[in-house]
């Protein structure tokens, strides 16, 4: 069996003492930062990127993956304990999780979230191990027109499956692509939009953009938000769910895992859409839907499993095609590039030990999270009690040092301040910055493939429609856009994202 020998290779890489240590440290720091209110996985990864700089590529990748699911998990903890989801994908967890916490069942909610996530993580790891190699073999059939069509579809799907105004999100994608084109053009070596600033001749660093838009801007938004924060219940007593809880939660976690594994692979998919879909599903099939929003355990188990499965499954298109399906994966690509790794169809065949080591370490990381989080809940509770006035300057220091240490120049720090102000302004005019980040990474890639396509076809645009594979992708994209124009479906989408009303 190919799969087993591959997994065995992965275990031999991931189970070295050094790599277990990196995995553990990544998960620990990821949770630590992710627990802090108002910091999502994107900001967490960007902030912790410098601690991976001095590692060799395998260790760095393992640690980055650990940081990623640590942050994801930390966000759920905050959602349950203080009703303050750090990022949109844990919003639904807060609905029933926080109600459980108020009923004195915070421990049960946290344990359910941890175990559901662990289960989902195990399944998703196997899904990645099976699907990623298959997808990367398929990618060998792709030429420039297919890659162009696929990326455009990814960008459109990201906009449609996300929430907020679709028109504005498409605009944000284009703004991001334009910003991504700043610097020296790969094909001709000429410079664009550099305004004579030497420091951006090589383009703007992605980490600077992400940290400004998601780190700095979010700190401003949180400071402006004058809600009195609720303090978590100080003592968490019972952790283990009762038998009745398990009977309700286990099937929900199973359904959530399936949903997440499927939705995560789709372009534009990932944690957010998966958790929302799972919550709607659980509410729809429940015997008594009125329990939801009042502490229903399925409302924690399902979305948490879906969220985790979706987050991990979104690694598949990123690793196999080199195309990030969402903003967090875009950051992962940028981080891998720093270490000299280019994800894509060749990554699996050229560096099998790196690839399979990373996959297996994901599974180990999920296990570490369960071991780590349940006993350490007390520490997270203490962390959540620190007032924001003390917290935000410390977070800001980490952002600044993180950005400075990419190239060791203060110019990047100033640029981050600029993107922070820009990001806050965008939020205030109702534009979500996540599509911008995706456009930023995909912009140069789309341009390169687009240019190559039309060069080969001698300027003939119909090439996108005459090749069957790219025609299918274009048709799917057009269908997505058309569907969004239908009023009934638009309403359905609005409802799906308004589950909390």
């Amino acid at each position: 069996m190919d799969l087993f020998s591959n997994l065995a290779l992965g275990f031999s890489v991931a189970l070295t003492l050094k790599n277990i240590f990196y995995c553990f440290t990544g998960a620990l720091f990821g949770t630590l930062i992710g627990v802090l209110p108002g910091i999502g996985p994107l900001a967490t990864i960007a902030m912790l990127l410098p601690i991976t700089f001095h590692l060799e590529p395998t260790g760095a990748l393992i640690m980055l993956a650990g940081i990623f699911y640590g942050a994801q998990y930390g966000g759920s903890t905050t959602a349950i304990l203080v009703n303050l989801p750090g990022e949109s994908s844990s919003v639904v967890t807060a609905l029933d999780g926080y109600q459980m916490a108020r009923q004195g069942r915070a421990g049960v909610a946290l344990a359910t979230a941890a175990l559901a996530s662990f289960f989902a993580g195990c399944v998703a790891t196997i899904v990645i191990a099976v699907a990623a190699p298959a997808l990367s073999r398929m990618a060998l059939l792709f030429g420039p027109p297919e890659f162009t069509a696929l990326m455009v579809m990814g960008l459109i799907a990201a906009v449609v499956l996300a929430s907020g105004s679709i028109v504005a999100s498409i605009g944000m994608v284009m703004v991001g692509m334009l910003l991504g084109l700043i610097g020296t053009d790969v094909t001709t070596g000429e410079q664009r939009f550099v305004f004579g600033i030497r420091q951006i001749y090589d383009g703007i660093d992605f980490v600077v953009v992400a940290m400004g838009l998601f780190g700095v801007a979010e700190i401003v938004a949180n400071l402006a938000d004058r809600h009195a924060r609720e303090l978590p219940a100080s003592r968490i007593t019972r952790l283990m769910p009762s038998k009745a809880d398990v009977l309700l939660a286990a099937p929900a976690a199973l359904r959530g895992t399936l949903l997440g594994s499927i939705l995560g692979v789709l372009p534009g998919g990932g944690a957010l859409i998966s958790s929302f879909a799972s919550y709607s599903l659980e509410k729809r099939i429940a015997a008594d839907p009125s329990r939801f929003g009042k502490g229903a355990i399925e409302g924690v188990a399902g979305p948490e499993a879906a969220n985790n499965a979706g987050a991990q499954a979104s690694f598949i298109p990123m690793l196999a095609l080199g195309i990030p399906p969402n903003a967090v994966m875009a950051l992962m690509i940028a981080a891998m590039t720093i270490h000299g790794i280019t994800p894509g169809p060749k990554f699996l065949t050229d560096q099998p030990s790196l690839f399979w080591g990373m996959i297996v370490s994901m599974w180990i990381g999920n296990m570490i999270l369960v071991i780590l989080n349940l006993p350490l809940v007390g520490i997270w509770v203490k962390l959540l009690k620190i007032p924001y006035a003390y917290l935000f300057p410390a977070i800001l220091v980490f952002c600044c040092v993180g950005v400075y240490s990419i190239n060791f120049r203060v110019f990047d720090v100033f640029l981050m301040a600029g993107f922070g102000v820009f990001g806050y302004f965008l939020r205030r005019i109702g534009c979500e910055p996540a599509p911008l980040v995706l456009g930023f990474i995909l912009g140069p890639m789309v341009e390169e493939q687009f240019r190559r396509t039309l060069l080969l076809s001698d300027g003939d645009f119909t090439v996108f429609l005459t090749r069957p594979l790219s025609a299918t992708l274009i048709a799917a994209t057009a269908a997505l856009l058309l569907l969004m124009a239908l009023p009934s479906l638009r309403k359905g989408r609005e409802e799906a994202f308004r589950e909390q009303d």
């Binding site: 750090g86 949109s88 284009m174 084109l181 980490f398 720090v413 922070g420 205030r428 109702g430």
Partner: protein, 165 residues
Amino acid sequence: MRGGLRLPRSVYPVFVRMGQQQQYLSGLFFIAFGALAVWAGRNLAIGTAAEMGIGYTPRALAIGCVAVGCLLLVQALLSAPADGGGRFSIAWRPLLLVALMVIGFGLLLPVLGLPLTVVLMISAAALSGENFHWPTLAAIAGGMALLSTLLFSTALKLQIPVWPF
């Protein structure tokens, strides 16, 4: 938000529909950004579809931005002002303070080194208008200065200036 869920502002725009005022402002923003891109790329060669110059994609994207902006303005004209949705407001104090702290870090780091810069930066947080306690803030400033220096300079060996001399 009803249902007792409190959303921090950072996840807010995802769930609140754009208000009329925001549609106007975002429309104007996209038009301005697109126009800026057209102007800044005025000297880039456009070329033809088969022989694309470096100005081809940027020009197309810039025109796209302007189109999106116009569409948003039309939407704003068609929507009623009392339609609910988010409203535009800027919290100047946190915005300026945070920007100042970050820029201050960039200016002071090469001169003062990491620990002193961190102490000054964290002390500046006192201007945030949040409730705080001087001794605690001082302790955090000292602790963060020590921790960040030990972590980034000693343990991770990043080449960050540590002392002013």
